[in-house]
Chain length 410, copies 2
Amino acid sequence: MSTLKGACIIGQSGGPTSVINASAYGCIKTALENENITKVYGALNGIKGVLNDNLIDMGMEDPAELEHMKYTPSSALGSCRYKLKDAEVDDTDYFRILEIFKKYDVRYFFYNGGNDSMDTCNKISKFMLKHNYECRVMGIPKTIDNDLAGTDHCPGYASAAKYIATSLMEIYHDARVYDTGMITVVEIMGRNAGWLTAAASLACYKGCGPDLIYLPEVSFNTNDFIEKVKKIYAENGQCIVAVSEGIHNRMGRLISDTGKKDSFGHPQLGGLASLLAKKIEKATGAKVRAIELSLLQRCAAHCASQTDIDESFAAGKAAVDYATAGITDKMVGFKRKKSKKGYKCEIELFDLSDVANAEKKVPKSWMNATKDGMNEKYIAYALPLIQGETQLTKEDGLPRFVHLKKVKAQ
Amino acid sequence: MSTLKGACIIGQSGGPTSVINASAYGCIKTALENENITKVYGALNGIKGVLNDNLIDMGMEDPAELEHMKYTPSSALGSCRYKLKDAEVDDTDYFRILEIFKKYDVRYFFYNGGNDSMDTCNKISKFMLKHNYECRVMGIPKTIDNDLAGTDHCPGYASAAKYIATSLMEIYHDARVYDTGMITVVEIMGRNAGWLTAAASLACYKGCGPDLIYLPEVSFNTNDFIEKVKKIYAENGQCIVAVSEGIHNRMGRLISDTGKKDSFGHPQLGGLASLLAKKIEKATGAKVRAIELSLLQRCAAHCASQTDIDESFAAGKAAVDYATAGITDKMVGFKRKKSKKGYKCEIELFDLSDVANAEKKVPKSWMNATKDGMNEKYIAYALPLIQGETQLTKEDGLPRFVHLKKVKAQ
């Protein structure tokens, strides 16, 4: 083991999740307790906090207050969607980052995010290696989308899945209450990967889920879809559909393409449920309700999986433990262990180069024969992840979320 | 006390809530245990179940399974939105109801619903009195809208309020995560009464609520609204708005009027958040997100208030206890007792004639001076109601909802 003494920076990036702060807390708490880490800085709004010299001193926070991070949704340090240019094209940002690292004697950099964040992390790691600045760089995954390569699953996914399955069970009960018939279309996030939408099948497993589930892993035919809805509605007077925002036709064109793009160049999605609802209404004359789970599916900490919270914390902790033990240029991930006692999850490390920008899709073999639902393989995969109820403290009957002082780094 | 022996019918009507089944269970369990009640029937889909002779025998259900009703959202017996004509205009339905009551020797009728259901309940009660058919009729209130006259609050309101406040706290954390600015508009149910939207202020009380809250009790000026949003956004780079679906202009015209009407002749609402979001986007150029809490706010049993569940159960129980003790033609409601030990709630009875079709609005004196938020009077009113976390059983990390056998009445 090679000892490296210095400060660390932790940053958060990309879309919020219910448990990204549990990872950050795992990282911060472990770093504060590690004798080789001299200072623990939080970068406000991810890499932008480094570029703008906008760091806070995590050591100035009250440790008891900091504990509430474990159960607070969204990114307590703020997030960003800032794409670093390739260093070969423009290395301005990289030299600025190096300048800040030198200024604060930063020898550890922990970056907590999804695909794009792992890309950022990878680029910084490679630049520092190339410029012989000794800094151990570790990626801590988070994404409700569950689409990071390598790892069995991503912190954040299970809590979103639990919320989606729970909400769909509740919607099922609500939507069937009248005998006058209703069709319900529920839009779920996930972009190109259907992991989140697949979670709707957990409600089916409990006997009260949607009739049809559409993932972006399979191309979507609107006419076929409407025929299926019509048939189910004619038989039951009810039909519930769960549909991924990212479904597309055979040509790859998104069914709901608003034309708008985000700063990474990804299309901005949304409005799909309303669009499909209008088509169904026209085709069936039935009452159709469109529901967008919207951002609640990524921030509903009150319905988080305690398994997810604990694993997220463990991922943050492992990043510090491995880095201080000499590891660098890796993303922390999970490996599922087959155990007679049931589900067990271990930490596994992945090369940043391998995970940056790679996308893991839902295996088609986990879908049913008609590709409008999931099978038992997905249930076996997802069920262990959503176990355990959050230990979130309640005050006045409402969540007690963290309040950080955010003292500027000196 | 006059003893009356016979069967009872319990029916549920109107929009679902998280706790209407807790009331039904309170009623069913108490009725099953009462020696004067010979049979307990559930009317499927409310009064339509009576009209269609579609009754189930609640005595055939497994008592242990029936207990799960207490924590199952939506109407387990099915609901309806069926308006009885005035008996003077057309008494066909009433004579049919009388026929069914006689067929099953029904001497107790319990109807579990909101304003329109209390109207149904009142009409049946008056008809039976007029035709000298001895039947004790009791209304058991439910409505997330909290707009029933007389009672301090309505079963169902507190759970919806808790969900709305919790979700807004989570949305607050999510919406502020980027430093690039965002405006969020959250649309909340409640029709003409602002009680549900007022619950957003509980999130403000916890330090993470919306900047602006608009109730239908005050007329809405779109230009003033946009100016306020602009100012807050310019100052903070963020703005969160909670808005009631029922807001209207000075002339009483709904800001979002789709032209569609439901079977009671009420306008069908929805789509307001998107509409306002578009106007704000145009006026500010900011990124604006529209969120409809949609029907999750009325069926999110996983986030129900245990206080609400217990009170709902107590209301159902009281209806049976009072009816078998000789009371009829009343709605069960709540009276808030001032107690040194804090909040205390007692059962109070109200004349059905007084509550049918009456609407209770939020007092304007509970709003802030600028009428875009609530004050401490509302907080003092609402806070005790949302206390306590649901004791809902979880299985496989997901809610365990009731499964009824629904054995047809003989």
